[in-house]
């Protein structure tokens, strides 16, 4: 009798446990705005929690904020979308995701068929995602929507999104890379700032190198220049600005062994050898914000963080000219999940997310540059200061190299191999010539043509 009671009690406990766990696991829907459980400032975060859709359509969308300031911006955008679409019965939920593992998470969710309806990716990743077969072709939706003008977006970006007559997404924003500089530091050293040098047509690798050397002071742990150790401000920029390119013209092969590429690599290696910059990847960001770095190369997404953290006067300038003017045009499209339950509702949300008003608002809040060239958007962006010299970002657009998907190869493998060799080069273990040669040897197998 007692034994039976015991067994029964135990079995029911296990049963309850199992039920509780199943209930925990049942909610796989991302909670969107509710994720910011403890709002740091006031009630605006609460407003972005989408109310349970009462018979309307719920669309989830996701993008990747670079930091907390950027995240707030997207939450406000979500409020805007909901306000404008309330009449159509569509509710949008914003789901932020952090830097680390963003693309892996997306791919996992696509595999498990519970990815958000709309999500952002970096431009280079486009080929991988299209290859999954789960990206909705937007061309039919564009064609049947007479109120929508595709031409208002920067054509070079749209070109990257089109393949075989299909349009795979709309750009969220663009971001050119610029030089953030510590104005106080330049003035204290009696040097002309990058902005002044650029205005005088004298802002190039020589003057940049010169300023770096003059501002570097080991005793004060001060560096003249800094940039993250990844393809954007690292090997990508230096090779492009030297007149070369990581890829061949049609992006079906490696071109890192050309003399121009090697020249760019040599210049960059020199910066490290002379210890003119912090050697880590992201450490330079903390140091710039603390006032220890004179110039920092980064995209527009860096601005909100600098605004919050910097205690010195700062501004931006275009990238210095190497053999040619160059910078990156970082961009990322919103893609629509091919398995979305309501493509038309998703299209409505997408149109608002990329509208002049929305992108202007985002721009005004400082995070990014609108992907469209209509005046309203541009004006909103120029007015979003600090930094005062927003024009520097726009100046780069005509000559910028676009980060572009590698349709005929594997970008992850290519960049991983190149990065590894670049690390060895900047540590002085191999020469730039060896870097170029080995890079092309090792990446030959990553191309499919």
């Amino acid at each position: 009798m007692q034994r039976f009671q015991r067994t029964f009690t135990w079995l029911s406990l296990m049963g309850i446990l199992a039920l509780a766990l199943a209930a925990c696991g049942a909610s796989t829907q991302p909670q969107g705005g509710a994720a910011t459980a403890v709002p740091a400032t006031g009630g605006e975060t609460a407003a972005t929690t989408a109310p349970a859709p009462a018979g309307g359509t719920a669309i989830t969308w996701r993008t990747r904020p670079g930091d907390a300031a950027e995240q707030k911006v997207y939450e406000e955008l979500n409020t805007l979308v909901n306000t404008q679409l309330a009449a159509k019965g569509i509710t949008a939920t914003y789901d932020p995701a952090p830097n680390q593992g963003y693309f892996e998470k997306l791919k996992t969710e696509l595999a498990a068929s519970n990815a958000p309806d709309i999500f952002w990716i970096g431009g280079v990743e486009l080929a991988d995602f299209v290859a999954t077969g789960q990206i909705l072709d937007l061309q039919p939706l564009v064609t049947k929507d007479s109120s929508f003008d595709l031409g208002v977006f920067y054509p070079n970006v749209i070109e990257q999104l089109t393949r075989d007559g299909k349009l795979y997404g709309l750009p969220r924003d663009i971001s050119t890379m610029v030089v953030y500089y510590n104005e106080d530091m330049f003035k204290a050293a009696g040097l002309q700032t990058p902005k002044e040098l650029a205005a005088a047509g004298n802002w190039n690798w020589e003057t940049m190198l010169d300023a770096s050397k003059k501002l570097t002071d080991p005793a004060k742990q001060q560096y003249g220049v800094g940039f993250g150790n990844w393809w954007g401000p690292g090997w990508g920029y230096f090779i492009n600005a030297a007149g070369g390119s990581p890829f061949t013209a049609d992006r079906t092969g490696c071109a890192l062994d050309t003399p121009e590429a090697i020249e760019g690599a040599t210049f960059a290696q020199n910066l490290y050898t002379e210890k003119l910059l912090p050697a880590g990847d992201a450490d330079g960001e903390a140091l710039f914000n603390a006032g220890n770095v004179g110039m920092y190369f980064n995209g527009r997404w860096f601005a909100p963080g600098v605004r919050t953290n910097a205690t010195f006067g700062w501004d931006v300038a275009p990238m210095p000219k190497g053999n040619t003017e160059s910078t990156w045009l970082f961009w990322g499209p919103y893609l629509v999940n091919a398995k979305t339950t309501n493509p038309d509702a998703a299209w409505e949300v997408l149109k608002i997310l990329t509208s002049a008003e929305a992108t202007g608002k985002v721009a005004a809040l400082g995070t990014n540059i609108p992907p469209r060239s209509d005046q309203a958007a541009v004006d909103a962006f120029l007015g979003a200061s600090p930094p005062a010299n927003n024009q520097a970002y726009l100046d780069g657009v005509p000559y910028a190299a676009l980060e572009a998907p590698v349709w005929d190869g594997n970008w992850a493998d290519f960049s991983g191999a190149v990065q590894s060799l670049w690390d060895q080069m900047i540590a002085g273990q191999i020469t730039p010539e060896e870097f170029g040669k080995q890079a092309c040897e090792q990446t030959a197998s990553t191309f499919t043509k």
Partner: protein, 279 residues
């Protein structure tokens, strides 16, 4: 005393110095981490590094709990840890008792096989477990962090060792009285096994609280992540705010330190027993 290594006073003094220096090496990083978590973001990257902040930035903790979102993640970690620990103890007591005190066909073979599973590196299981979670729709759920992991060969081994050492007459008397084995287990053996259960619970706590690889693979929504993931995300999202990263790391580490200090006996004796038993 005979057999001592340190006989003369100066040897003892030298030993003390050595012990103090090495214990400082062990502990100083934590002091530094905690002190840095209370600095401003500029103070933390200052050179030469100062140990103590000028003004205690307690606001860092408030701020860090609200982002990532670390507060929720801390809660998730607590939930997962509690369930895993309870699961460990229950399954180990049951299996340990069965292997220790019952005779049944296949007992020794089954036990050897179970023990043998300890040899398999976790890395071998991650890909198929991941695919299984997709199939079960457990991806990105706390369930995936709990259910597969409540079974432990180590725990079973520990409890079995313990139960074997209990004298047989306790059981025989109860059997004579007509008590069933389940009842014997719950009424007699479990209360006796409290020390072993406590030791197992402490190890289970460490295992669950500190686990990283599996949550990294299976959880991607920020509000479902656990604290280990949260701190790493802090590192990538807030690279410029080292002070916040230190605050987050402190939050990740502090609970284990507190529990350790409260339950040191169980931790240390548990490890020591494992070492002795492993011979």
């Amino acid at each position: 005393m005979v057999g001592d290594i340190l006989r003369r006073p100066w040897e003892r003094a030298l030993a003390y110095v050595f012990l103090v220096v090495t214990s400082l090496i062990m502990v100083f990083p934590f002091i530094f981490m905690f002190a840095s978590s209370l600095k401003t973001s500029a103070e933390v990257v200052q050179v030469p590094p100062k140990l103590f902040p000028a003004v205690l930035q307690l606001g860092n903790y408030v701020e860090v709990l609200g982002i990532v979102p670390l507060g929720t993640q801390l809660l998730n970690t607590v939930i997962v840890t509690v369930f895993v620990v309870v699961g460990w103890v229950l399954t180990s007591v049951l299996a340990g008792y069965a292997f220790a005190r019952l005779t049944f066909p296949g007992r020794d073979t089954l036990f050897s096989i179970y023990l043998g599973t300890l040899m398999v590196p976790f890395a071998v299981l991650i890909v198929p477990m991941y695919r299984m979670m997709i199939w079960l729709s457990w991806v990105d759920t706390l369930t995936a962090l709990i259910v597969p992991w409540i079974f432990t060969a180590y725990g079973t081994f520990l409890l079995r060792q313990f139960f074997i050492s209990i004298p047989k007459d306790l059981e025989e008397a109860a059997l004579m009285d007509g008590a069933g084995r389940w009842s014997i287990l719950f009424r007699i053996f479990m209360p006796l096994a409290r020390p072993a259960m406590a030791t197992l619970a402490t190890f289970g706590f460490l295992y669950a609280w500190n686990s990283f690889l599996w949550p990294l693979i299976i959880i991607s929504s920020p509000e479902k992540k656990v604290i280990t993931q949260g701190v790493v995300d802090l590192q990538s999202l807030y690279a410029a705010r080292v002070d916040l990263i230190m605050a987050g790391s402190t939050l990740a580490v502090l609970p284990t330190l507190l529990i350790f200090l409260l339950a040191q006996r169980y931790f240390i004796e548990g490890v020591a027993t494992a070492g002795l038993a492993g011979r």
